[in-house]
């Protein structure tokens, strides 16, 4: 039924062009804000979430929740590797620097090439890996970081904050795991630069096939119980959650701002639709008189509301793609993902449905003879 009446519904959408355009723009701005805030949250949490997507275990100093502050003897990697069920283990020295005028965060991992590859499957150009193995000052850099900082393979770069001078020998391409926003350097070099010889931040362990990460974490902690530096083992997922928790206050703030924007738009859209319904009370009476059932009237008004909101949604998402989802946005640490786009469109849909619901119900429930007299 609605299909045959879509042209009618579409004409109604543009009944008052100025109001409709303003409603679409209002929803568009709200969706843009939701998408931009989502892109900011995504950009902040992506690197750590990606870590959590792997079935790896992180063994860190029990007293330090922040992995960057954690310090363990490098020899722990051998002790962890001997635990039954562990396929391979490697110590990683991790650090963070703020680089460039736009204050890009660069996560640096000092790794032992041989051991790291046993733990971590990285899709990489073999020549790049060979070059990384051969040169103490070599670095592999995630493609996102390269793009963001306009670095290129072959560049020699200096990160003063970490007292590092490295040569980029390869790009870590897109591969659906972490590292896309990270930099890998040789562990020995980073240990010297950070005055942390013989130390690592944490040990990464890969479970043998058939061993569950959570069971293995408990087994590692038990095996390390008498170690001089107490350890705590978590799955990479739990580790990622813990890191994200640190950001959570700010992320929640951004989410609340997004929700407030959506609610304000919802009220504005509801008011616009309610005005539109009020203005055609007699006409709704006529429609019901000639046989439009209440449910059909409700559907028509809701469809108008959803159509307006979806147009605004597409406008907002399009604007977000132009403003946020480009290289500049990426350089500013924003990431417009598919899920953010879908969330923004869903917000528009929500505005359309909830904003139209009350006016639509009013239109559907008004008594026909009262509507014909112009009584709401």
């Amino acid at each position: 039924m609605m299909g045959r009446l879509l042209p009618f519904m579409w004409c109604n959408v543009w009944r008052n062009r100025r109001r409709s355009v303003l409603t679409v723009l209002g929803v568009g701005v709200a969706v843009f804000v939701v998408a931009a805030l989502g892109a900011a949250v995504e950009g902040m949490t992506f690197p750590v979430r990606e870590v959590g997507s792997q079935e790896l275990l992180t063994v860190r100093e029990a007293a330090r929740a922040n992995v960057l502050a954690s310090r363990l003897p490098a020899s722990y990697e051998d002790r962890v590797a001997q635990v039954s069920g562990v396929k391979a283990a490697t110590g990683v020295l991790s650090d963070l620097a703020v680089v460039g005028t736009d204050m890009a965060h660069v996560f640096v991992r000092g790794v032992d090439p041989d051991r790291y590859r046993q733990v971590h499957d990285i899709v990489l150009d073999p020549a790049a890996w060979t070059a990384f193995e051969a040169d103490q000052n070599a670095a592999l850099v995630g493609f996102r970081l390269l793009s963001r900082l306009d670095w290129h393979v072959g560049d020699e770069i200096e990160i003063e904050e970490l007292r590092l001078r490295v040569r980029i020998v390869g790009e870590i391409p897109e591969q659906g795991v972490d590292l896309e926003s990270h930099m890998l350097v040789r562990r020995g070099y980073l240990q010297v630069a950070r005055v942390a010889e013989g130390q690592v931040s944490y040990v990464l362990a890969a479970p043998q096939q058939g061993h569950r990460a959570t069971d293995l974490a408990a087994a590692i902690d038990e095996a390390m119980e008498l170690a001089p530096v107490p350890t705590e083992t978590t799955s990479a997922g739990a580790f990622a959650e813990a890191v994200i928790d640190d950001f959570m206050g700010f992320i929640d703030y951004l989410r609340v701002m997004g929700a407030i924007t959506v609610v304000i738009t919802l009220l504005a859209a509801a008011n616009a639709i309610a005005m539109s319904v009020r203005e055609r009370t007699r006409e709704i009476g006529m429609l019901k008189a000639i046989g439009f059932k209440p449910r059909l009237v409700l559907s028509l008004v809701l469809a108008e509301s959803v159509a307006l909101s979806l147009m605004g949604g597409l406008l907002g998402v399009g604007a977000a793609a132009l403003v946020v989802g480009n290289e500049r946005g990426s350089m500013a640490g924003l990431m417009l993902s598919t899920s953010t786009v879908l969330t923004a469109v869903a917000a528009a849909l929500l505005v359309g449905v909830l904003g139209g619901l009350v006016p639509a119900r009013t239109a559907a429930n008004v008594r026909t003879i009262e509507a014909l007299r112009g009584i709401e």
Binding site: R15, G291, F292, K293, I369, L372
Partner: protein
């Protein structure tokens, strides 16, 4: 009226409350309207003419009594069935034309057919017939704002008859029109009755308009009379 009436109302009662006052516009009203008849209902404002039309057209329920259209007792139907019944069997013409301002005359007339899921080809042909019957084929692609009041009312009549309904209910269809347009609209309603055998029940305040109908009835104290009770009073007072 030898054949069975197409509209048969018996004992209709409708009561409203306005504050403490009880108003009973229909008080045991009976009415028979024959197939193809053009009936004019008259009466003072508030006498219940529109209430009667709403009950006959299935827009309102009486407190008591029954109303049958064709073989169907509309007063016994539920809201959903009434919607379907009205869509297929009753055409409405209102004083304010109630055209959709964003649709052309053609699209306004087509609207009830879309509701009845009529195919595109049949919609086109039925709309063309209806436009021809009310004589505004040349204005079909104009918006209501581009039409005169008389033309708008003719579009509304075309919308009412496009589904080939059993009855057409017209509530003061000339109330907002000038004399010339009123004449044209009543001509169309009379022709629908005389030439197309449509049953038309029209409420009007205008005696000249009412005289164009086959039959006039007056609503007085909730019942229908065959003659105007005021005229009777005057004649009886001054013979």
């Amino acid at each position: 009226m030898s054949e069975r009436p197409i509209v048969e109302a018996r004992g209709l009662v409708k009561t409203y409350h306005k504050g403490d006052a009880e108003i009973r516009p229909l008080n045991g009203l009976d009415l028979d309207v024959g197939q193809g008849e053009f009936l004019a209902l008259m009466g003072p404002s508030g006498s219940g003419k529109s209430t009667l039309l709403h009950v006959i057209g299935g827009l309102d329920k009486p407190d008591a009594g029954t109303c049958r259209i064709g073989e169907v007792e509309v007063t016994a139907m539920g809201e959903r069935d009434l919607c379907d019944f009205r869509a297929a069997n009753v055409g409405f013409v209102f004083q304010v034309y109630n055209l959709v301002p964003v649709l052309t005359a053609r699209d306004n007339i087509e609207l009830p057919l879309r509701l009845l899921a009529v195919s595109k080809a049949r919609r086109r042909s039925q709309v063309a017939t209806a436009l021809g019957m009310v004589g505004i084929a040349d204005r079909a692609d104009h918006l209501p704002s581009e039409l005169s009041g008389g033309e708008e009312q003719r579009v509304a009549i075309a919308r009412a008859l496009v589904t080939d309904p059993q009855i057409i209910i017209a509530d003061e269809p000339t109330g907002d029109l000038d004399e010339e347009s009123s004449g044209q609209v009543v001509d169309i309603l009379a022709a629908l009755s005389a030439e197309h055998h449509k049953t038309v029940i029209m409420v009007t305040h205008d005696p000249e308009t009412a005289e164009r109908a086959n039959r006039m009835m007056y609503l007085h104290k909730g019942r229908l009379l065959d003659r105007n009770p005021r005229e009777t009073t005057v004649k009886e007072t001054f013979p």
